[in-house]
């Protein structure tokens, strides 16, 4: 589907309004022509002809014309705007819904600044297309045809002469189409790069300041800023190679009419009255001919944007529901990994190999291992942020790939390593999974995550608005709100990815105790670096180089004297032989 058809298919519901709007705008042209005719009659019949009784009717007619013209213009403009705005709104919604379906691979490959660009600046060109380009093309085309028919009817020889420049105009239009597109693409690319750079600069403002890199950032910005400026100037310059010629052609139409019309009049093949009609209607031909260049140029700009937006529309998530997805009735939360292997799409070697892991409903499983060993990858396979390359992950005996995605996300609650909080109230953040959640539940979960205390100490308590990504809170506070949010979601499976790394030990111990005391115990997977976080787990898995190197309970692992034991010793200041350091 091309961009035009795509926009039109979304605009379908509003075509009625837009067609009526265009019809009205053509009606306006009619009123605009009748007005002068009535004035001419006042001169001819009343002033010259002395028929005083005709004055009032003619005046009333002229007023009626003027009023109708105004009403039609206004209504048609509003109808067109309404159609265009509704279409833009519907497109926005469509694109947003699509973005929500995209998986993490997509967000890894597409930068926020660029996605923003598509839904802001690019979308504005679609609006321009619906409010300006479509009505202009149609009305201009019809005006051109209508004028041509009248011309042919009155004097076909002169009409044909008036068309002498048309082939050149068409030829130039084709050139405009071909040559403007790269210029517009370049401008669009420059805006997008600028957007991305500014976006990243704003997000990373803390790092910029910490390293005193303001000047460096300004330098990088200025480079993109200038590139954008130059691309914009260049576009107009390219356009100005064609625009004047097109403009010239349309102006020369009048010259042709005057010259040959004059000759015809002298020859007697044409009356003076006909010539003045031709002259007064010349705008009907040269207007559209002048406009065609602008329309084609803007259309190229629209295409540059629309094609980018359509990449979102056509994007296909790698992770999708299978046909007839499985929706469980009452999930218990048993997890099993069977011979799981995972390889990044771009990577050569797998990051996870032959992982076998089992958690019975309600059990707590600990996962530890060196930096970059694949812990986060492993847990990401459960809610299908990624799909296994080999083997399978099963919940209650059913492969997660068979689950309906929303249902799956309803089973697996997560508190992620990269805490992301929304610039909302604390209350809205905790009740993120269910905005209707009663306040008591929010508070209860905050208590379980040991967040209630500090939340109450903030000036507005649960109504305190936190900044984007939770700025204004300490790392530990952010983690605890994220934990409360995951607890409030109340799922049979709970994944805690390094959730308490920024929390002190006392708090951690308290949180663990609260978690154990919860009535409905979720199957819990805890990824951590600290022994204290996983010590109480029913089973602890150690991941090393993408494989499970050892597993067992705390005591069992200590006896094994492997990785776990050595980490235990390091964290407790014990030398591996057994004495206190």
């Amino acid at each position: 589907m091309g961009p035009v058809r795509w926009v039109m298919s979304t605009a379908r519901e509003n075509t009625g309004k837009m067609v009526v709007g265009m019809l009205l705008s053509m009606l306006c042209v009619g009123f605009n022509v009748i007005g002068p005719i009535l004035y001419a009659q006042i001169i001819d019949d009343v002033i010259e002809g002395g028929q005083a009784e005709k004055l009032m009717p003619l005046c009333i007619g002229a007023i009626a014309c003027a009023v109708l013209f105004v009403i039609c213009t206004y209504t048609s403009q509003l109808l067109l705007e309404l159609g265009s705005q509704n279409t833009e709104r519907d497109l926005r919604k469509q694109l947003y819904a699509k973005l929500q379906k995209m998986d993490q691979n997509y967000y890894g490959a597409n930068r926020t600044g660029d996605l923003m660009m598509k839904l802001t600046g690019d979308l504005d060109w679609v609006r321009h297309f619906t409010i300006f380009l479509i009505p202009q093309s149609i009305t201009n085309f019809l005006t051109f045809i209508a004028t041509l028919v009248i011309f042919l009817f009155y004097n076909w020889q002169l009409a044909l002469m008036a068309l002498v420049f048309t082939p050149f105009t068409v030829f130039l239009t084709i050139k405009v189409r071909r040559n403007m597109r790269p210029a517009h693409d370049r401008v669009r690319e420059c805006v997008s790069q600028l957007n991305t750079l500014v976006q990243e600069n704003i997000s990373g403002n803390r790092v910029v300041k910490a390293f005193v890199r303001e000047d460096y950032e300004i330098e990088r910005f200025e480079e993109k800023n200038q590139a954008f400026r130059n691309a914009s100037i260049n576009t107009v310059r390219t356009w100005q190679r064609y625009a004047p010629i097109l403009d010239g052609f349309s102006n020369c139409l009048t010259v042709i009419l005057l010259l040959f019309g004059g000759i015809f009049c002298i020859n007697g093949t044409m009356t003076l009255g006909d010539l003045s009609l031709f002259l007064s209607l010349a705008w009907g031909l040269n207007g559209p001919m002048n406009m065609i260049g602008t329309v084609i140029n803007d259309y190229q700009r629209f295409l540059a944007s629309a094609e980018k937006i359509m990449t979102i529309y056509y994007a296909k998530p790698d992770i999708e529901n299978q046909a007839q997805p499985y929706i469980p009735d009452s999930p218990k939360g048993e997890i099993e990994f069977r011979h799981v292997e995972y390889k990044y799409p771009s990577g050569k070697a797998p990051v996870l190999m032959d992982i076998n892991l089992k958690a019975k409903a309600g059990q707590t499983i600990g996962i530890m291992g060196p930096t970059g060993c694949g812990k986060t990858t492993l847990i990401s396979l459960i809610p299908r942020f990624m799909d296994v390359s080999k083997g399978g992950v099963f919940i209650d005996g059913v492969d997660v790939r068979k689950y309906e995605l929303n249902a799956l996300h309803g089973i697996v609650g997560m508190s992620m390593q990269d805490v992301f909080l929304f610039s909302e109230t604390i209350d809205a953040n905790i009740s993120y999974g269910d905005p209707e959640m009663p306040e008591e539940r929010v508070i209860a979960c905050a208590k379980d995550a040991d967040a209630d205390g500090f939340i109450r100490r903030t000036p507005d308590g649960y109504e305190t608005v936190i900044g984007e990504r939770g700025v204004g809170l300490s790392g530990g506070q952010k983690q605890r709100i994220a934990l409360a949010r995951a607890l409030a979601y109340d799922t049979p499976i709970l994944i805690l990815d390094d959730t308490t790394s920024a929390v002190d030990m006392d708090t951690e111990a308290y949180i663990q105790e609260r978690l154990r005391a919860r009535k409905k115990k979720a199957t819990t997977l805890i990824v951590a670096q600290r022994i204290s976080s996983v010590k109480e787990a029913d089973c602890i898995y150690i991941l090393e180089n993408g494989r499970v190197s050892e597993y067992g309970t705390h005591e069992e692992l200590l006896k094994k004297r492997g990785y776990y034991y050595s980490v235990y010793c390091l964290q407790n200041g014990i030398t591996e032989e057994g004495g206190v350091n």
């Binding site: 105004v70 890894g108 403009d247 009048t254 010259l259 970059g372 300490s474 390091l570």
Partner: protein, 591 residues
């Protein structure tokens, strides 16, 4: 001192309470002035082309009235030639003008954008923390683009149209004073209409820019938080919110055009009324002394009289839109740089490393003190560990040292220099901060480490990476140091990101090193290796370390932060012997 303002959310309009005035436009003249000559020249070109275009209608009259009745074919050809020449001239002049105004317009907005960006770099954390980032982004890119056309073409056109309006009125007076006065009677109506419509129109435009800003902010956060949204199965709720915002934008837009769309019809109605009035008066013989010829000529002028007013009406709409955007842009530029070099600030000399906090009181939010009368002293080369419960203010202490926030009371000195007397860049550039939130930029790993010191050689980058044991995993990546980091480092694990950001800090070769949870996501064994490597590097540098795993800080002097102060101070052994809060904390960590 600066008190934190209420944070803005995506669905809250950022109200502006300044009344409409020309100040914003006047301020933008600062940018326009630099190109005054070019714009004047463009104006001159426009005047010429306008005069030339006034000639062309004469040709039709000449042909119809003289050449055809006279059968003058030669005259026709001469006329055609002249016509073509004039058209060509007009077109060339217009092209010239467009190229000039376009260049000026694009240059002006690139300058405004640059000033905005520069100013943003100077704004404190507070500014970024208190509003959704999408709103800031919209201003720098989208709004600035929106004012481009008006600041170049718009200005030239306004002057041009005013010029032609004056000329026409003069011609009208010469032709007939009475008819001119009749025509001008409609002007008060038009003026009253404009005055009436002005403030609702401006409000509608402001509202629209607010609604746009809101939806962008929401979109921005939606994209960044998509993983959370998906995992909490919240897509349907967010879709509803976004749809609501899209509807608000649409409504605001429709309201704006509902108002601005009236200007043109009103002009057209007035213009027709005047025309009719003239015809009527002629027909009813009200002005007996005015000939039909005069009336016809005059009607021609009336038509020309309303054209510039129409154009001015459109320009007026643009002006209102532009001011709505300029307000937002200048609002950012007016945002005070609350943390700036004080007058007479000097460069902090090479730091030896004596850091002293004396009687420091600090609050992010008014009356909610995070620190109260806190004292701290670090000798050159000393390693200080800050421990204590979460939210006790450990990160705050180090943020204050780097002057990310200004304190309310007390003093902070480095080698006896108050950090308020020295330039911020000389202060921060001697400090290496490894922040809790490890932010990586898109670009290669190499670029990211080099961010610490831009002129570092490849060898130095490798050395820094080796010192923090990041080299091991980096060299195992398919592209090694040339591996592209995705947005926010999404392709790396949290521990790996910390190691890279650690290397970045070390490369900066700071005199004072601040490690805020620098190794929280790194496994204990790697952490130990990193620490061993660090020992050598820390020599001679004062360092502040915040960590929850106490095993990592045993060689430091330990300060226990709680109750808005430092409550315990001493070596690991000393504090254990004290049997105080540190002792409690330490023993709770042992199994």
């Amino acid at each position: 001192m600066d008190v934190r303002k209420k944070r803005n959310k995506f669905n809250v309009d950022e109200e502006l309470d300044t009344p409409f005035d020309a100040t914003h436009l006047k301020r933008s003249f600062k940018y326009i002035k630099r190109y005054g000559k070019s714009l004047l020249f463009a104006l001159f070109l426009s005047v010429i082309s306008t005069i030339l275009s006034l000639i062309t209608p004469q040709f039709s009259g000449l042909v119809v009235d003289e050449y055809i009745p006279a059968g003058n074919v030669r005259g026709l050809f001469i006329m055609a030639a002249c016509f073509v020449v004039i058209v060509a001239l007009i077109i060339l002049i217009n092209r010239w003008r467009v190229l000039i105004t376009n260049r000026v317009g694009q240059t002006i907005i690139s300058e405004i954008r640059r000033d905005l960006f520069e100013h943003l770099q100077k704004l404190p954390f507070d500014y970024y923390d208190s509003r959704p980032h999408g709103k800031i982004l919209t201003r720098v890119v989208n709004y600035v683009n929106s004012v481009a056309d008006f600041l170049s073409n718009g200005i030239v056109n306004i002057i041009l149209e005013l010029f032609s309006l004056t000329a026409i009125i003069i011609f009208m007076f010469i032709t007939s004073t009475k008819l001119t006065l009749l025509t001008l009677t409609t002007m008060p109506i038009f003026v009253i209409f404009i005055v009436l419509v002005k403030s609702p129109q401006r409000r509608a435009r402001q509202k629209l820019s607010n609604k746009n800003s809101n939806i962008n902010a929401y979109l921005h956060e939606s994209i960044n938080g998509m993983k959370v949204t998906q995992s909490f199965d919240r897509e349907a709720v967010n879709y509803e919110i976004y749809s609501g915002l899209a509807q608000e934008v649409r409504n605001a837009w429709m309201k704006a055009v509902l108002i601005s769309g009236t200007i043109w019809p009103v002009i057209s109605l007035l213009s027709n009324t005047v025309k009719l009035g003239i015809y009527y008066s002629a027909a009813a013989n009200i002005f007996a002394d005015i000939s039909l010829g005069t009336i016809l000529v005059f009607i021609g002028y009336v038509f020309r009289f309303w054209t510039p007013i129409q154009t001015l009406g459109n320009l007026y709409n643009n002006l209102i839109n532009t001011t709505a955007y300029l307000e937002r842009i200048f609002q950012v530029l007016d945002e005070p740089i609350s943390i700036d070099d004080h007058e007479g600030a000097y460069d902090l000399p090479q730091v030896k490393g004596r850091v002293e906090f004396r009687d420091v009181t600090f609050a992010y939010e008014k009356d909610v003190n995070v620190l109260e009368h806190m004292n701290l002293c670090a000798e050159p080369g000393e390693s200080i560990a800050l421990v204590g419960p979460t939210g006790a203010g450990k990160s705050t202490v180090v943020s204050l040292l780097a002057r990310f926030y200004d304190i309310q009371e007390g003093s902070i000195t480095i080698d006896g220099h108050s950090i308020y007397d020295v330039t911020i860049s000389s202060l921060r550039s001697q400090m290496g901060m490894m922040l809790q939130d490890t932010f990586l930029f898109t670009g290669t790993i190499m670029d990211n480490i080099r961010y610490g010191r831009l002129d570092a050689t490849d060898e130095e980058v490798y050395a820094a990476a080796r010192a923090v044991h990041a080299d091991d995993f980096i060299s195992q990546l398919p592209d090694g140091y040339r591996t592209e980091v995705k947005e926010r480092g999404a392709s790396l694990s949290a521990g790996q990101r910390q190691l890279i950001s650690f290397a970045r800090t070390l490369l900066a070769d700071p005199r004072i090193l601040i490690l805020d949870e620098a190794t929280s996501a790194i496994d204990t064994k790697t952490e130990l290796l990193v620490q061993q490597g660090l020992q050598a590097l820390l020599k001679g540098r004062t360092s502040f370390i915040i960590a929850h795993r106490l095993s990592t800080i045993k060689n430091c002097r330990i300060l226990y932060v709680a109750d808005k102060q430092i409550v315990e101070n001493g070596t690991h052994e000393e504090l254990l012997a004290l049997h105080g809060r540190y002792y409690e904390l330490y023993t709770s960590q042992l199994d």
